[in-house]
Protein backbone atom coordinates (compact mmCIF):
# COMPACT_ATOMS: atom_id res chain seq x y z
CA UNK A 1 0.00 0.00 0.00
CA UNK A 2 2.82 2.36 0.85
CA UNK A 3 4.40 1.40 -2.44
CA UNK A 4 1.30 2.52 -4.31
CA UNK A 5 1.19 5.73 -2.30
CA UNK A 6 4.81 6.49 -3.15
CA UNK A 7 4.15 5.79 -6.82
CA UNK A 8 1.20 8.16 -6.74
CA UNK A 9 3.21 10.84 -5.00
CA UNK A 10 6.00 10.43 -7.55
CA UNK A 11 3.55 10.85 -10.42
CA UNK A 12 1.87 13.81 -8.77
CA UNK A 13 5.26 15.32 -8.02
CA UNK A 14 6.28 14.96 -11.65
CA UNK A 15 3.04 16.58 -12.77
CA UNK A 16 3.46 19.52 -10.44
CA UNK A 17 7.00 20.28 -11.57
CA UNK A 18 5.98 23.51 -13.21
CA UNK A 19 4.29 24.81 -10.10
CA UNK A 20 7.47 24.14 -8.16
CA UNK A 21 9.67 25.63 -10.82
CA UNK A 22 7.77 28.89 -10.49
CA UNK A 23 8.17 29.01 -6.72
CA UNK A 24 11.72 30.12 -5.95
CA UNK A 25 11.02 30.35 -2.22
CA UNK A 26 10.47 26.60 -1.97
CA UNK A 27 13.64 25.86 -3.90
CA UNK A 28 15.87 28.22 -1.95
CA UNK A 29 15.59 26.17 1.25
CA UNK A 30 17.01 23.15 -0.45
CA UNK A 31 20.36 23.74 -2.08
CA UNK A 32 20.64 20.73 -4.48
CA UNK A 33 17.14 21.31 -5.83
CA UNK A 34 17.92 24.97 -6.38
CA UNK A 35 21.08 24.01 -8.25
CA UNK A 36 19.11 21.70 -10.50
CA UNK A 37 16.57 24.37 -11.28
CA UNK A 38 19.45 26.72 -12.02
CA UNK A 39 20.90 24.16 -14.42
CA UNK A 40 17.54 23.60 -16.09
CA UNK A 41 17.11 27.33 -16.62
CA UNK A 42 20.57 27.66 -18.16
CA UNK A 43 20.20 24.93 -20.76
CA UNK A 44 19.86 25.69 -24.45
CA UNK A 45 16.34 24.28 -24.24
CA UNK A 46 15.00 26.76 -21.70
CA UNK A 47 14.76 29.86 -23.93
CA UNK A 48 13.27 27.72 -26.71
CA UNK A 49 10.71 26.31 -24.29
CA UNK A 50 9.85 29.79 -23.00
CA UNK A 51 9.44 31.18 -26.51
CA UNK A 52 7.29 28.27 -27.66
CA UNK A 53 5.24 28.56 -24.49
CA UNK A 54 4.44 32.21 -25.21
CA UNK A 55 3.66 31.38 -28.84
CA UNK A 56 1.30 28.54 -27.92
CA UNK A 57 -0.37 30.69 -25.24
CA UNK A 58 -1.01 33.36 -27.86
CA UNK A 59 -2.36 30.80 -30.35
CA UNK A 60 -4.57 29.03 -27.79
CA UNK A 61 -6.02 32.25 -26.43
CA UNK A 62 -6.69 33.51 -29.94
CA UNK A 63 -8.61 30.28 -30.62
CA UNK A 64 -10.92 31.15 -27.74
CA UNK A 65 -9.44 29.59 -24.58
CA UNK A 66 -9.26 31.84 -21.50
CA UNK A 67 -5.79 33.34 -21.22
CA UNK A 68 -4.74 31.83 -17.88
CA UNK A 69 -5.99 28.39 -18.91
CA UNK A 70 -4.05 28.63 -22.17
CA UNK A 71 -0.94 29.66 -20.23
CA UNK A 72 -1.32 26.73 -17.83
CA UNK A 73 -1.83 24.26 -20.66
CA UNK A 74 1.18 25.42 -22.63
CA UNK A 75 3.32 25.57 -19.48
CA UNK A 76 2.39 21.94 -18.79
CA UNK A 77 2.99 20.76 -22.35
CA UNK A 78 6.12 22.73 -23.24
CA UNK A 79 8.63 21.99 -20.52
CA UNK A 80 12.33 21.92 -21.41
CA UNK A 81 12.50 18.11 -21.34
CA UNK A 82 9.56 17.94 -23.77
CA UNK A 83 11.51 20.17 -26.16
CA UNK A 84 14.43 17.79 -25.68
CA UNK A 85 12.21 14.84 -26.59
CA UNK A 86 10.94 16.57 -29.74
CA UNK A 87 14.49 17.50 -30.68
CA UNK A 88 15.53 13.84 -30.41
CA UNK A 89 12.53 12.60 -32.40
CA UNK A 90 13.13 15.09 -35.21
CA UNK A 91 16.88 14.39 -35.24
CA UNK A 92 16.33 10.62 -35.50
CA UNK A 93 13.71 10.98 -38.23
CA UNK A 94 15.87 13.39 -40.24
CA UNK A 95 18.85 11.04 -39.90
CA UNK A 96 16.79 8.11 -41.13
CA UNK A 97 15.41 10.12 -44.07
CA UNK A 98 18.86 11.39 -45.08
CA UNK A 99 20.27 7.86 -45.05
CA UNK A 100 17.26 6.50 -46.94
CA UNK A 101 17.56 9.12 -49.66
CA UNK A 102 21.05 7.93 -50.51
CA UNK A 103 20.33 4.24 -50.16
CA UNK A 104 22.64 2.06 -52.25
CA UNK A 105 23.00 -1.66 -52.62
CA UNK A 106 26.61 -1.50 -51.49
CA UNK A 107 26.88 1.45 -49.10
CA UNK A 108 29.90 3.55 -49.93
CA UNK A 109 29.17 6.35 -47.52
CA UNK A 110 30.29 5.96 -43.94
CA UNK A 111 26.99 7.10 -42.47
CA UNK A 112 24.95 4.60 -44.47
CA UNK A 113 27.38 1.84 -43.54
CA UNK A 114 27.10 2.73 -39.88
CA UNK A 115 23.31 2.77 -40.01
CA UNK A 116 23.31 -0.58 -41.79
CA UNK A 117 25.51 -2.01 -39.03
CA UNK A 118 23.13 -0.68 -36.36
CA UNK A 119 20.04 -2.02 -38.15
CA UNK A 120 21.65 -5.44 -38.68
CA UNK A 121 22.73 -5.67 -35.05
CA UNK A 122 19.28 -4.73 -33.77
CA UNK A 123 17.58 -7.21 -36.09
CA UNK A 124 19.87 -10.00 -34.91
CA UNK A 125 19.21 -8.93 -31.34
CA UNK A 126 15.43 -9.11 -31.81
CA UNK A 127 15.71 -12.53 -33.43
CA UNK A 128 17.97 -13.80 -30.67
CA UNK A 129 15.85 -12.47 -27.82
CA UNK A 130 12.37 -13.32 -29.12
CA UNK A 131 13.24 -16.47 -31.01
CA UNK A 132 12.56 -17.54 -34.59
CA UNK A 133 10.35 -14.98 -36.33
CA UNK A 134 11.49 -12.26 -33.97
CA UNK A 135 12.58 -10.06 -36.88
CA UNK A 136 8.94 -9.09 -37.30
CA UNK A 137 9.20 -7.08 -34.09
CA UNK A 138 12.61 -5.62 -34.98
CA UNK A 139 11.26 -2.20 -36.16
CA UNK A 140 9.51 -1.59 -32.86
CA UNK A 141 12.40 -2.88 -30.76
CA UNK A 142 14.92 -0.86 -32.77
CA UNK A 143 12.84 2.31 -32.42
CA UNK A 144 12.66 1.87 -28.66
CA UNK A 145 16.37 1.13 -28.46
CA UNK A 146 17.49 4.06 -30.60
CA UNK A 147 15.26 6.54 -28.78
CA UNK A 148 16.35 5.37 -25.34
CA UNK A 149 20.04 5.37 -26.26
CA UNK A 150 19.93 8.88 -27.71
CA UNK A 151 17.78 10.12 -24.83
CA UNK A 152 20.28 8.71 -22.34
CA UNK A 153 23.24 10.17 -24.17
CA UNK A 154 21.85 13.66 -24.65
CA UNK A 155 21.91 14.06 -20.87
CA UNK A 156 25.71 13.83 -21.05
CA UNK A 157 25.92 16.84 -23.38
CA UNK A 158 26.26 20.13 -21.48
CA UNK A 159 23.34 22.43 -22.17
CA UNK A 160 20.87 19.65 -22.85
CA UNK A 161 18.53 17.65 -20.63
CA UNK A 162 17.99 13.94 -20.88
CA UNK A 163 14.21 13.43 -21.16
CA UNK A 164 14.69 10.14 -19.29
CA UNK A 165 17.00 11.16 -16.46
CA UNK A 166 15.80 14.69 -15.82
CA UNK A 167 14.89 15.70 -12.29
CA UNK A 168 13.66 19.22 -11.80
CA UNK A 169 14.02 20.37 -8.24
CA UNK A 170 12.53 17.63 -6.10
CA UNK A 171 10.21 16.39 -8.83
CA UNK A 172 11.11 13.19 -10.68
CA UNK A 173 10.26 14.62 -14.09
CA UNK A 174 11.95 11.85 -16.06
CA UNK A 175 9.33 9.37 -14.85
CA UNK A 176 6.93 11.01 -17.33
CA UNK A 177 9.06 9.87 -20.26
CA UNK A 178 9.90 6.44 -18.88
CA UNK A 179 6.28 5.70 -17.99
CA UNK A 180 5.27 6.68 -21.52
CA UNK A 181 7.93 4.37 -22.97
CA UNK A 182 6.99 1.50 -20.65
CA UNK A 183 3.28 1.88 -21.47
CA UNK A 184 4.04 1.86 -25.20
CA UNK A 185 6.16 -1.29 -24.78
CA UNK A 186 3.56 -3.11 -22.65
CA UNK A 187 0.65 -2.19 -24.93
CA UNK A 188 2.68 -3.51 -27.86
CA UNK A 189 3.46 -6.74 -25.98
CA UNK A 190 -0.22 -7.39 -25.29
CA UNK A 191 -1.20 -6.39 -28.83
CA UNK A 192 1.27 -8.93 -30.21
CA UNK A 193 0.09 -11.55 -27.71
CA UNK A 194 -3.58 -11.15 -28.69
CA UNK A 195 -2.74 -10.99 -32.39
CA UNK A 196 -0.50 -14.07 -32.43
CA UNK A 197 -2.33 -16.29 -29.95
CA UNK A 198 -5.92 -15.21 -30.43
CA UNK A 199 -8.15 -13.79 -27.73
CA UNK A 200 -9.14 -17.15 -26.27
CA UNK A 201 -5.61 -18.46 -25.85
CA UNK A 202 -4.54 -15.07 -24.47
CA UNK A 203 -7.24 -15.18 -21.80
CA UNK A 204 -6.43 -18.83 -21.02
CA UNK A 205 -2.82 -17.78 -20.43
CA UNK A 206 -4.10 -15.60 -17.60
CA UNK A 207 -6.16 -18.46 -16.19
CA UNK A 208 -3.09 -20.63 -15.73
CA UNK A 209 -2.44 -24.33 -16.14
CA UNK A 210 -4.95 -26.24 -13.98
CA UNK A 211 -8.14 -24.44 -14.85
CA UNK A 212 -9.69 -24.86 -11.40
CA UNK A 213 -6.92 -22.67 -9.93
CA UNK A 214 -8.02 -19.75 -12.14
CA UNK A 215 -9.44 -17.68 -9.25
CA UNK A 216 -5.97 -17.73 -7.70
CA UNK A 217 -4.00 -17.36 -10.94
CA UNK A 218 -5.90 -14.51 -12.56
CA UNK A 219 -5.17 -11.88 -9.85
CA UNK A 220 -1.54 -12.99 -9.64
CA UNK A 221 -1.14 -12.68 -13.39
CA UNK A 222 -2.87 -9.30 -13.50
CA UNK A 223 -0.68 -7.93 -10.71
CA UNK A 224 2.37 -9.33 -12.48
CA UNK A 225 1.36 -7.64 -15.71
CA UNK A 226 0.82 -4.34 -13.89
CA UNK A 227 4.21 -4.62 -12.19
CA UNK A 228 6.00 -4.92 -15.52
CA UNK A 229 5.55 -1.34 -16.80
CA UNK A 230 6.18 0.00 -13.30
CA UNK A 231 9.49 -1.82 -12.95
CA UNK A 232 10.52 -0.96 -16.53
CA UNK A 233 9.84 2.74 -15.94
CA UNK A 234 11.42 2.92 -12.48
CA UNK A 235 14.51 0.98 -13.52
CA UNK A 236 15.20 3.15 -16.54
CA UNK A 237 14.56 6.39 -14.68
CA UNK A 238 16.48 5.35 -11.57
CA UNK A 239 19.56 4.26 -13.46
CA UNK A 240 19.79 7.20 -15.83
CA UNK A 241 18.53 9.78 -13.34
CA UNK A 242 20.89 8.58 -10.63
CA UNK A 243 23.81 8.60 -13.00
CA UNK A 244 22.92 12.09 -14.27
CA UNK A 245 22.71 13.29 -10.69
CA UNK A 246 26.11 11.83 -9.82
CA UNK A 247 27.53 13.48 -12.93
CA UNK A 248 25.91 16.75 -11.89
CA UNK A 249 27.51 16.71 -8.45
CA UNK A 250 30.90 15.66 -9.83
CA UNK A 251 30.72 18.59 -12.26
CA UNK A 252 30.05 20.89 -9.30
CA UNK A 253 33.07 19.32 -7.62
CA UNK A 254 35.11 20.36 -10.65
CA UNK A 255 34.27 24.00 -9.95
CA UNK A 256 34.76 23.68 -6.19
CA UNK A 257 37.94 21.63 -6.02
CA UNK A 258 39.24 21.38 -9.61
CA UNK A 259 38.94 17.57 -9.53
CA UNK A 260 37.97 16.32 -13.02
CA UNK A 261 36.18 13.24 -11.71
CA UNK A 262 33.27 13.79 -14.08
CA UNK A 263 35.32 12.65 -17.08
CA UNK A 264 35.41 8.91 -16.20
CA UNK A 265 31.78 9.23 -15.06
CA UNK A 266 30.80 10.63 -18.45
CA UNK A 267 32.50 7.71 -20.18
CA UNK A 268 30.71 5.36 -17.80
CA UNK A 269 27.49 7.17 -18.70
CA UNK A 270 28.03 6.35 -22.37
CA UNK A 271 28.26 2.68 -21.36
CA UNK A 272 25.25 2.68 -19.00
CA UNK A 273 23.23 4.52 -21.65
CA UNK A 274 23.65 1.57 -24.01
CA UNK A 275 23.30 -0.98 -21.22
CA UNK A 276 20.00 0.40 -19.89
CA UNK A 277 18.56 0.70 -23.39
CA UNK A 278 19.60 -2.93 -23.93
CA UNK A 279 17.99 -3.99 -20.65
CA UNK A 280 14.73 -2.18 -21.47
CA UNK A 281 14.46 -3.67 -24.95
CA UNK A 282 15.67 -7.12 -23.85
CA UNK A 283 12.97 -7.24 -21.19
CA UNK A 284 10.37 -6.14 -23.73
CA UNK A 285 11.58 -8.96 -25.99
CA UNK A 286 11.45 -11.40 -23.08
CA UNK A 287 7.85 -10.37 -22.35
CA UNK A 288 6.92 -10.94 -26.00
CA UNK A 289 8.73 -14.29 -25.96
CA UNK A 290 6.93 -15.21 -22.74
CA UNK A 291 3.59 -14.83 -24.47
CA UNK A 292 4.72 -16.63 -27.63
CA UNK A 293 6.63 -19.47 -25.99
CA UNK A 294 3.80 -22.00 -26.41
CA UNK A 295 4.29 -21.82 -30.17
CA UNK A 296 8.00 -22.46 -29.72
CA UNK A 297 7.48 -25.49 -27.52
CA UNK A 298 5.55 -27.21 -30.29
CA UNK A 299 8.62 -26.95 -32.50
CA UNK A 300 10.86 -28.11 -29.68
CA UNK A 301 12.71 -24.82 -29.48
CA UNK A 302 13.10 -22.60 -26.48
CA UNK A 303 13.42 -18.85 -26.83
CA UNK A 304 17.23 -18.76 -26.83
CA UNK A 305 17.81 -19.52 -23.21
CA UNK A 306 16.28 -16.25 -22.02
CA UNK A 307 14.87 -16.67 -18.54
CA UNK A 308 11.16 -16.35 -18.10
CA UNK A 309 10.71 -12.78 -16.93
CA UNK A 310 10.17 -12.82 -13.21
CA UNK A 311 7.25 -10.80 -11.97
CA UNK A 312 9.49 -8.26 -10.35
Amino acid sequence: MTGLASVASAILGAAQVQAEAEGPAAAAEHAPAALELWYEQHTILYPIATGLRELSTAILSSVGLPHDKAADLSAMLLQPFVISTWFLCIALIVLALVVRKRLEFIPRRNLAGLMELIVDTLRDFARGAIGPGGEAHAPFIATLFLFIVTANWIGLVPGFLSPIGVTSGDALTGLNTTFALALIAIVYVHYVAIRKRGLKSYLLHFAGEPLWLAPLNVPIHIIGELARPLSLAFRLFGNIGGEDKVLHYLAILLFLAAVPLHVPMTLFGVFTGILQAYVFTALTCAYIAGFLEHDDEEHGQQAHGEPRPAHS
Binding site: G128, D170, G238, E306
Partner: protein, 90 residues
Protein backbone atom coordinates in the same frame (compact mmCIF):
# COMPACT_ATOMS: atom_id res chain seq x y z
CA UNK B 1 9.46 16.73 17.55
CA UNK B 2 12.96 17.29 16.21
CA UNK B 3 13.50 13.54 16.46
CA UNK B 4 11.48 13.29 13.29
CA UNK B 5 14.22 15.10 11.40
CA UNK B 6 16.90 12.85 12.86
CA UNK B 7 15.07 9.70 11.80
CA UNK B 8 14.27 11.24 8.42
CA UNK B 9 17.92 12.04 7.78
CA UNK B 10 19.02 8.58 8.98
CA UNK B 11 16.44 6.83 6.82
CA UNK B 12 17.33 8.93 3.79
CA UNK B 13 21.02 8.21 4.15
CA UNK B 14 20.78 4.53 5.13
CA UNK B 15 18.12 3.28 2.72
CA UNK B 16 20.30 2.98 -0.36
CA UNK B 17 23.36 1.46 1.41
CA UNK B 18 21.24 -1.25 3.03
CA UNK B 19 19.62 -2.06 -0.30
CA UNK B 20 23.04 -1.97 -1.95
CA UNK B 21 24.34 -4.57 0.52
CA UNK B 22 21.73 -7.11 -0.49
CA UNK B 23 21.83 -6.26 -4.17
CA UNK B 24 25.62 -6.46 -4.30
CA UNK B 25 25.55 -9.89 -2.68
CA UNK B 26 22.87 -11.10 -5.07
CA UNK B 27 24.55 -9.73 -8.16
CA UNK B 28 27.87 -11.19 -7.08
CA UNK B 29 26.34 -14.62 -6.69
CA UNK B 30 24.57 -14.40 -10.05
CA UNK B 31 27.73 -13.23 -11.83
CA UNK B 32 29.85 -15.91 -10.12
CA UNK B 33 27.46 -18.63 -11.21
CA UNK B 34 27.38 -17.26 -14.75
CA UNK B 35 31.18 -17.13 -15.01
CA UNK B 36 31.44 -20.65 -13.66
CA UNK B 37 29.05 -21.93 -16.29
CA UNK B 38 30.90 -19.98 -19.00
CA UNK B 39 34.17 -21.58 -17.89
CA UNK B 40 32.50 -24.99 -17.97
CA UNK B 41 30.75 -24.42 -21.30
CA UNK B 42 32.44 -21.71 -23.37
CA UNK B 43 30.15 -22.53 -26.30
CA UNK B 44 27.12 -21.16 -24.50
CA UNK B 45 28.74 -17.82 -23.69
CA UNK B 46 26.28 -15.73 -25.71
CA UNK B 47 23.15 -17.23 -24.18
CA UNK B 48 24.55 -17.06 -20.66
CA UNK B 49 25.59 -13.46 -21.13
CA UNK B 50 22.11 -12.42 -22.29
CA UNK B 51 20.47 -14.23 -19.41
CA UNK B 52 22.99 -12.76 -16.98
CA UNK B 53 22.36 -9.16 -18.06
CA UNK B 54 18.59 -9.55 -17.74
CA UNK B 55 18.95 -11.20 -14.33
CA UNK B 56 21.31 -8.48 -13.15
CA UNK B 57 18.82 -5.85 -14.32
CA UNK B 58 16.01 -7.52 -12.40
CA UNK B 59 18.11 -7.71 -9.24
CA UNK B 60 19.31 -4.17 -9.72
CA UNK B 61 15.79 -2.81 -9.86
CA UNK B 62 15.53 -3.42 -6.10
CA UNK B 63 18.40 -1.01 -5.51
CA UNK B 64 16.75 1.38 -7.95
CA UNK B 65 13.54 1.35 -5.92
CA UNK B 66 15.59 2.28 -2.85
CA UNK B 67 17.19 5.06 -4.90
CA UNK B 68 13.75 6.38 -5.87
CA UNK B 69 12.69 6.43 -2.23
CA UNK B 70 15.93 8.33 -1.56
CA UNK B 71 15.01 10.88 -4.23
CA UNK B 72 11.60 11.35 -2.66
CA UNK B 73 12.92 11.68 0.89
CA UNK B 74 15.83 13.89 -0.11
CA UNK B 75 13.59 16.88 -0.66
CA UNK B 76 11.97 16.48 2.75
CA UNK B 77 15.22 16.66 4.72
CA UNK B 78 15.67 20.27 5.81
CA UNK B 79 18.89 22.10 5.06
CA UNK B 80 21.44 22.11 7.89
CA UNK B 81 20.82 25.73 8.83
CA UNK B 82 17.10 25.13 9.18
CA UNK B 83 17.68 22.00 11.29
CA UNK B 84 20.01 23.86 13.66
CA UNK B 85 17.38 26.59 13.91
CA UNK B 86 14.71 24.05 14.80
CA UNK B 87 16.96 22.51 17.45
CA UNK B 88 17.88 25.87 18.88
CA UNK B 89 14.26 26.98 19.06
CA UNK B 90 13.53 24.34 21.65
Amino acid sequence: MEWIYAFLALGTALGVPIAALGVATGQGRAAAAAFESIARQPGATRDIRGALIITLALIESIAIYALLVFFMLQGKVPAIGKAVEALGAK
